[in-house]
Symmetry: C3
Subunit: 175 residues, 3 copies
């Protein structure tokens, strides 16, 4: 990791993964940066964004960027810790924008590898249920699984969060 | 826990979580009480209830209560170990009855915290797959995840059961 | 286990379970046999089969058998390590062929118990999401969960793979 630290926090919906990720970033002692990839497409999403925002205090710098996470990460100085929330929305946004996922994934993982800042990336684990019918669900599940594998391979620390509690797959949570 | 013991056993459908929970209760050496929250709504459900019932021997006292688990727990004396089977049906029943989930969840967690008996609660982990389309699925998944987080926070012991084998997230199984 | 070794590798779609299973078989130092249960029913499936095949080098012997995994395992000599890929397709194929799953499961587990070869079985964990509507999904999830429990009970080593990383539920991966 060349002196910087990449962590991946996996979990399901409403698993408590975001709360754990925020704690890990704050515990790092670096300047916390919140890189939000979600788009407020509807009321439900807007409410979730507002809820997460209300939880973050004035220490946080927030950057909203649905597509260009790679670029944002490249521009961050050392001494910062970026919470990338989350890879699942990032992936969804790339698909929605009609971009090449393999190309964007390569750009993102390059940025993660050459980053000067610490990074805590949050992502959904979506592979452990029965796949609902529909080609998009199946394709999204495959792409999400491949992205998680790729980032987990690069990360020094990987946790799976269940009911708010982390199981370490590799390393340990920063802090 | 003020001398009593709260355990949470999470797992998927057909994961073996109920069998492990029954063993944990029997191993505690206390009077086993089976608090069943399932309603026999159809043949499939009735069959499942019958299968679980056939597995329990005469040591067990059975209480069937789809909605008022909080009240049942409050009324249990010390020296008993209650198997609360399960939080997922409890949640579903509250929604079906049109009750306020946040209010009922507060009542239940209060009862869990002030209980004089030991408790082993069983709940489904439902967050690790792709969410099927439909607002109810999404809402139920969120409520289930929040309930699991809340109870896991209170419990001294939390296990995730996969293929009949427990992974401990916290503490250890009673017995 | 009578001197032979049975391992079960569980994981979701695109979790990296197959790659880990291949490594485990090769690390065993025995003659690797790939027992493929998938049927090339459509282009998507054919592509997946081709991708897995391209990853295996000339050391591997490949046997394609959608239904009679029990028979294939019984016929394998000691000194071989069989990668059974996977129990999920095997189960699906039994259902599609209208066979009795309980009977076929008994045949398969008998074969696993009396095998002279080492075996690494791959299977999907499908129980940790919200069950999609539809009777087949629910039934398949239950049968898959029961099969995984049964094989995990017999296996000396059981891993759950998430994002390419194994969590050991029992024993350790061969190699």
């Amino acid at each position: 990791m060349q002196g910087t630290d990449l962590s991946l926090i996996l979990g399901g919906a409403a698993s408590g993964k975001s709360g754990l990720a925020e704690k890990a970033v704050l515990a790092s002692g670096r300047q916390p940066v919140y890189l939000a990839t979600a788009r407020a497409g509807d009321d439900e999403m807007q409410e979730k964004i507002d809820r997460h925002r209300a939880r973050r205090d004035s220490r946080w710098m927030t950057i909203e960027e649905p597509l260009e996470a790679a670029q944002v990460i490249e521009s961050q100085a050392g001494g910062r810790a970026v919470l990338l929330e989350c890879l699942t929305f990032w992936l969804f946004n790339q698909l929605e924008a009609g971009r090449s996922v393999s190309q964007e994934q390569a750009r993102l993982t390059n940025a993660l590898q050459s980053a000067r800042c610490d990074i805590v990336a949050v992502s959904n684990e979506t592979g452990l249920g029965i796949v609902p019918p529909g080609e998009f669900s199946r394709r999204f599940g495959t792409l999400q699984g491949e992205l998680n594998q790729r980032v987990a391979g690069l990360a020094g620390n990987v946790a799976l969060v269940v009911a708010g509690l982390p199981m370490m797959l590799k390393g340990r949570l920063p802090g």
